[in-house]
């Protein structure tokens, strides 16, 4: 288990978030964080929808079952979370 700080941006939101992701977490678990860190303001956009996660400035999302340890994320990399 290792924590990596990343910059999270959620589609429809206005804030940039600093969170620590665990190397053992799956991408799907990180995507679900959008409901939590986006608080009430993002729930209408995110709740009940499938959320994808990709590294900032890339186009392809990570597979939902992939572990964070396998994504190659470095500290302070950007992560886009968006409904698909």
């Amino acid at each position: 288990m290792a924590l990596t700080p990343v910059v999270v941006m959620i589609k429809g939101d206005f804030l940039y978030h600093l969170i620590a992701v665990d190397s053992e977490q799956t991408v799907a678990e990180v995507a679900a964080l959008a409901n939590v860190i986006g608080m009430g303001r993002m729930r209408p956009d995110c709740e009940g929808r499938t959320l994808a996660v990709r590294k900032h400035k890339t186009t392809e999302p990570f597979p939902p079952s992939m572990k964070i340890a396998d994504t190659g994320l470095q500290p302070m990399d950007g992560l886009d979370i968006y409904p698909v």
């Binding site: 589609k11 969170i19 860190i37 303001r41 900032h56 302070m76 950007g78």
Partner: protein
């Protein structure tokens, strides 16, 4: 008795020839004038507003008498005890942000007094320094009486000594443009960019809103201060004019562009939220955008062009930010409200929403939509707490935000000497790139969290780091009345 005009020009020519030190030792370039403006040009510095010491003392005495009389009269009316929490939020925010900033500006004026190369500039700055002493004292004095009514007023003196995020942002700005540069640059940054451009708006616009709100004391204090600002803010324009004459237009433009942008960000937070959210709709004189257009876009731009300079290169970015930046600061600071020393009202009930949509077409689809999202847990009686830390900009130290609706967000990073720096916008990054060695060592809130200084590295840890893990921590100023009012309005509409 001679008239002032008969003796003033002779009496203030104090550029004597030093005998015991060289001129370079008396006025070192790094403290006085790194632009090497010829002394003959400095001799032509002509202050637009001339005043003698006896005139100054006489006028200031009258001003203080008037303002402190109002203070005594208002104290008997218990205005602060009775006023709306929304108005109290403005008072707490203003005094906490401004009172000690006035004290810091004393150091900037003092640098002009000692190291300014124009005799008239030194003379005006002497009065400017005395002005700032008065401004610091008067704005500490008024809220001091209110601490017994509401302990958050103690942050008037406390805020700038803490690690509260807004206080860090303000200190970084003031350190940069008030007290850590040479006298020539400080004259431009402090008196022209900060005071001429923006304090007008904060003080005059807010004085008008205060008068409408019935806050005679606040209106009187800030109007009294603004009469001083209007005088000593005139130090900078002749300096810019001299720089242009000396062939230093490029350098003049650069220091103006840096300080103007840095100041804009802070006033967008300070004035923008107060005018468009905290002030009740019935008492609003106009929107923040309207005041920006009148005071900055029209008046300041004309002044810059008249001096032979250009509008800052980022003018279009500024026009765009006027539309949204303070909306983001309001909802962002409200979201993280425990990190504030005042109680911000959500202030997005039916009446406010209609006003905001009229002043900022499209507000409802962007910001209004986010506020609606916040309503649901509130109406269900749940307290929705942040579960992340915000990212702050390396330059303005305000939370990094982006206009909702565009995707993906830009994530501006700049690598310098192997380290990545994050910026909220192009002008903030440009300022860093102009003098990276000046700014590179500063440790942001995020870096403090990563370094283990904020423990635990969570919202609660940040609140503690900011000395707000007590009764001072902000809460919604109207107990979420805006959310319940919206619900009631929807129910009425549904019949």
């Amino acid at each position: 008795m001679l008239e002032r005009s008969e003796w003033y020009d002779i009496a203030r020519q104090t550029n004597w020839t030093p005998k015991f030190v060289t001129k370079e030792e008396l006025f070192p370039a790094e403290m006085s004038d790194p632009y090497d403006i010829p002394q003959e040009l400095w001799e032509t510095y002509d202050e637009p507003y001339k005043v003698s010491y006896s005139e100054y003392v006489s006028v200031q005495r009258e001003k203080d008498l008037g303002t402190y009389s109002v203070k005594a009269a208002v104290a008997r009316q218990n205005f602060v005890q009775k006023c709306d929490e929304r108005w109290r939020a403005i008072l707490k925010f203003h005094f906490g942000g401004v009172a000690l900033a006035e004290s810091i500006s004393q150091l900037g004026e003092a640098r002009l007094v000692r190291f300014g190369k124009g005799p008239g500039m030194r003379n005006m700055a002497t009065f400017g320094l005395l002005d700032e002493l008065r401004h610091g004292q008067i704005q500490l004095s008024f809220p001091h009486d209110w601490v017994q009514i509401d302990r958050q007023f103690a942050w008037t003196h406390k805020a700038l000594h803490t690690n509260e995020w807004g206080a860090i942002a303000l200190r970084h700005l003031l350190d940069d443009i008030f007290i850590s540069r040479d006298a020539t640059t400080t004259a431009v940054m402090l008196t022209f960019a900060f005071e001429t451009a923006f304090t007008n708006m904060q003080f005059l616009a807010l004085a008008a809103d205060a008068a409408k709100a019935g806050d005679v004391a606040f209106s009187s204090v800030i109007s009294s201060i603004q009469t001083d600002e209007a005088r000593h803010a005139q130090i900078g324009a002749p300096v810019l004019s001299l720089m242009v004459k000396a062939g230093k237009k490029k350098e003049a433009q650069k220091i103006l562009d840096i300080s103007f942008w840095r100041t804009w960000k802070m006033f967008s937070l300070l004035t923008g939220m107060a005018m468009d959210y905290y002030t009740p709709v019935a008492q609003r004189e106009g929107s923040f955008k309207e005041f920006m257009e009148e005071w900055i876009i029209n008046q300041f731009e004309r002044q810059v062009l008249d001096l032979g300079l250009e509008r800052p290169w980022y003018w279009d970015i500024l026009l765009d930010e006027i539309e949204f930046f303070h909306h983001a600061m309001h909802i962002g600071s409200w979201t993280f409200r425990k990190t504030l020393w005042w109680n911000p009202p959500g202030a997005t009930g039916p009446e406010e929403r209609a006003w905001l949509e009229e002043k900022y077409p499209g507000w409802g689809e962007t910001w209004g939509r986010l506020w609606e999202g916040y309503s649901r847990p509130i109406l269900e009686g749940k307290e929705d707490e942040p579960q992340s830390l915000l990212i702050v900009c390396t330059m303005c130290h305000l939370p990094m935000i982006h206009r909702p609706g565009t995707w993906p967000f830009p994530l501006r990073t700049y690598n310098y000497e192997g380290r990545d720096y994050l910026f909220c916008c192009e002008p903030c990054q440009w300022i860093f790139e102009q003098e990276p060695d000046r700014y590179k060592g500063y440790v942001t809130l995020n870096e403090r969290a990563l370094a283990g200084e904020i423990m635990p590295p969570t919202y609660e840890g940040a609140v503690k780091f900011m000395s707000l893990d007590n009764e001072d921590a902000g809460r919604d100023g109207t107990n979420y009345a805006w959310a319940f009012d919206n619900q009631a309005a929807k129910a009425r509409k549904a019949g």
